[in-house]
Subunit: 252 residues, 2 copies
DNA sequence: CTCCCGCCTCCCGTTGCGTGAGGGTCAAGC
DNA sequence: GCTTGACCCTCACGCAACGGGAGGCGGGAG
């Protein structure tokens, strides 16, 4: 079967101009022309176009698609497998984004439940939005996320205050330990790191050692988190980071 | 907290150039500048950037994003909801594509199982690849798809021959009916349309009346399908289309 | 005080088409 | 056989969304 540009364009949901463009750059040249110079596409052309559109959907530049498609002998199976992988990967990414959006909505809901003063009371000067937005970009979605949003959504004001209290208690102890001169890889520091991990697990989500070290690195890498800890005590961010790593290694 | 372009760029996974661009077109202007002219972004800027990136991910042009973001009083909840919807929609689309790819792979596997002669024997001159590719674009994925690929993957050569025989038998009966001059909305024609639907349901996937009429329209709209039926008997494509519609209406 | 990295502002280049302009073609109907 | 409308052709310019480099200032660590 042979098709005109228009037919192909409608079937593949692209514009005629796009097909002209693909022809111009040699990405998809119709297998023939009529006497009047009309482009004639056959089934092989359609198949190729299908692959092109799929790669495009995944964000590949046209040049690269040309390389990919013109590379092997002609077996499409590897392409299909590859696209399958890429697509599922993409879906995962989008799912993470959805989870992130859900969290942000959850945070907004909290803002509505809690008056600004209450909010300040609970979170100190560590803006929850900030936290949410950040966390969201970091581990975007994931299971931990779902858990966190689910639990957080049910917390009452009293829960928040209890959480804050536990948090402050822990903060006092680690600053004291640090002031005492105990090294960050001392058993005491590691114990407090472990306690930190369990605090997170209890209040927000199952915090594995891996996630915990990831968090620790973030405390150093991101100025907002660094600022939060540095304000409690200068050097605390680095100290906690080291303690968490030491603790994780010792438990491995 | 205030951030430099570089920090923002790293956090948001965009280039500095992109931020410059957003500043140029007024989509995201930093809340301030230092004495030396350095851009200074604050948390509100980051929040806005997050929304921008999400909309971009969904394919919105920058201009439109600007309109969307600058439109309401400033409540982000509607945006979040909207993005949530759009993202889940997008995921659905990608899932369809994945299913389509899976079907194409399935077809390739069949090509390997069946020699070219066997393939020809089974499918007549109606290339299964062609069918696969087409079907895939039409109802891309969906539940019907999964079913179809799953069943088709298990068919033996004998199954295919039985299928072909049933199909040909049906073909003979509808051509005969058409030759007899019975109108396409006659009870007999509708009965054959219904039989057609059940043939599909038995061999491939649950074919609802809705899907069936969709198929019918495709038989007319697409030259490849039209050709298939026209070759059996001129006018058959249109006749079958009408019969299927009549049948679907009468059962509704 | 220096060195290097990060920031600044032009400014031209690229990708992937959109959108006519100007003109031939083809099937259908009168 | 002629018109008409839909469809095709080839330029050719335009645009969005940055990429990437040139040329130069700023700033903090050693």
């Amino acid at each position: 079967m042979a098709y005109t540009v228009g037919q192909v364009a409608r079937a593949a949901r692209v514009t005629v101009r796009t097909l002209h463009h693909y022809d111009e750059i040699g990405l998809l040249s119709p297998s023939g022309r009529t006497a009047a110079g009309y482009r004639r596409y056959d089934d092989a052309d359609l198949e190729r176009l299908q692959l092109i559109r799929a790669y495009r959907e995944l964000g590949f530049p046209l040049e690269e698609i040309a390389e990919i498609l013109d590379d092997p002998g002609g077996d499409p199976l590897p392409h299909l497998r590859r696209q399958h992988e890429l697509l599922t990967g993409r879906i995962g990414k989008l799912r993470d984004m959805v989870a992130a959006i859900e969290l942000a909505m959850e945070a907004r809901k909290l803002d509505i439940q809690l008056t600004p003063e209450e909010r300040f009371e609970v979170f100190g000067d560590f803006d929850p939005d900030e936290h949410a937005e950040e966390a969201e970009r970091r581990w975007g979605g994931s299971e931990a996320y779902r858990q966190s949003t689910e639990r957080v959504g049910r917390y009452s004001k009293e829960d928040w205050l209890r959480n804050k209290a536990e948090n402050e208690e822990w903060g006092r102890r680690i600053t004291a330990l640090m002031a005492s001169g105990a090294p960050a890889d001392s058993p005491e520091a590691m114990a407090l790191a472990e306690e930190h991990r369990q605090l997170i697990s209890r209040w927000f989500y199952d915090c594995s050692y891996e996630i915990h070290t990831g968090l620790a690195d973030m405390y150093l890498a991101d100025p907002r988190f660094t600022a939060y800890f540095e304000k409690i005590r200068p050097g605390l961010a680095a100290y906690l980071n080291e303690a968490i790593h030491a603790n994780a290694i010792s438990r491995a």
